[in-house]
Symmetry: C3
Subunit: 160 residues, 3 copies
Amino acid sequence: MSIEKRLRELGIELPVYANDTYYGATKYGSMKPFHIIGNVLHLSGHVPERDGNVVHPGRLGETVTLQQGIEAARITGINAMAGMKQALGDLDRVVGIVKSLNFVACAPDFHEVHKVSSGMTDMLAEVFGREIGIGCRATIGIQALALDNCFETWMEVEFR
Amino acid sequence: MSIEKRLRELGIELPVYANDTYYGATKYGSMKPFHIIGNVLHLSGHVPERDGNVVHPGRLGETVTLQQGIEAARITGINAMAGMKQALGDLDRVVGIVKSLNFVACAPDFHEVHKVSSGMTDMLAEVFGREIGIGCRATIGIQALALDNCFETWMEVEFR
Amino acid sequence: MSIEKRLRELGIELPVYANDTYYGATKYGSMKPFHIIGNVLHLSGHVPERDGNVVHPGRLGETVTLQQGIEAARITGINAMAGMKQALGDLDRVVGIVKSLNFVACAPDFHEVHKVSSGMTDMLAEVFGREIGIGCRATIGIQALALDNCFETWMEVEFR
């Protein structure tokens, strides 16, 4: 239970997805939360929701500040960890973040999308340690996300 | 041949990709239709073309209505099934939609991208049943697609 | 060493990523260059940087011409090959480009994103031959990329 201990040290509390199918299943359309092939966990898109509310809706470079975007990305990463726990039962089974493809809703001239994503990926490195927690990554600035979310991640995780 | 029977029941007719390389191979640039690794089928992007014409070109929230977007997504899913059939020979070999990453060309303030994608994913659930047909999913609203298509899907499928 | 010979014939010189961690590791945020699972190499996003400078910054259909976009995509593919070499040691180990998801920063009415990507995928076909070098593909026109890059690729490669 070392990851759970680490989460407590960092003051991070995971939402519990275990008792419902998936927060997105009805609200965000027909999908399942995860799919496992061999030792790879594929997660559906995660967004910066908290208690059912969208955190910092809008677009970076317009109504959402860089600091708010970074916070939204951090919350998204926490939700993604809750998705890993729902799928794997125990976060200590995670042996590597394979990769995350990250989407930042933004203005046409916003060129700091990578700084937003680091709000998530820096946090994952803190929780899992750099060897396990840092994955491959790409981040793209896009037009809009469902329900005006400003950030979304699309992640693959390797586990034992 | 249960999936073929199901398609007939639902009145869905698949385009035939078996006798040409790929509808996108010359028109949409240098690519192949699919790549198989182990029991996972990776498909190239599929768009809502029918008989070589782009169905409902434009952007959601501008010239394309939500209902038209949903129809475009449904047609895209039918084309993706044709791609699965081209690759696997028989759709009964499909044991799960791993995931689809979906792109909706849209206006900056269009926040219903998830409803568009459900035009595809609801149909796949009807054809394959929920256990097999519902995959992981993310949907992003983007700027533009090739030839003004309003929707595209990027899918992985598990098969036996 | 047939691919290295082919690169020399084509006058293509790869940047060397072997002696640093990754050009993106600090500049573009917390990420690693690649992750290997079995015989599949996952690469982080690659962009058209050369000697640390962004080549043809801006958006297609605005400040970047189609020809410049095609050149940016070609340079991106060269950088991705450098990433493969960093990961695998020898490009002759590549047995197939599984797929690339490609991002083109562009204006709302730019519908030739597929032509941009072919600047990369045509080059990969020239280097590796069509059987190995042509992968699955999708290309989307997006709002903005980190540091105003006009192109990015997100690639998976099969190797022996």
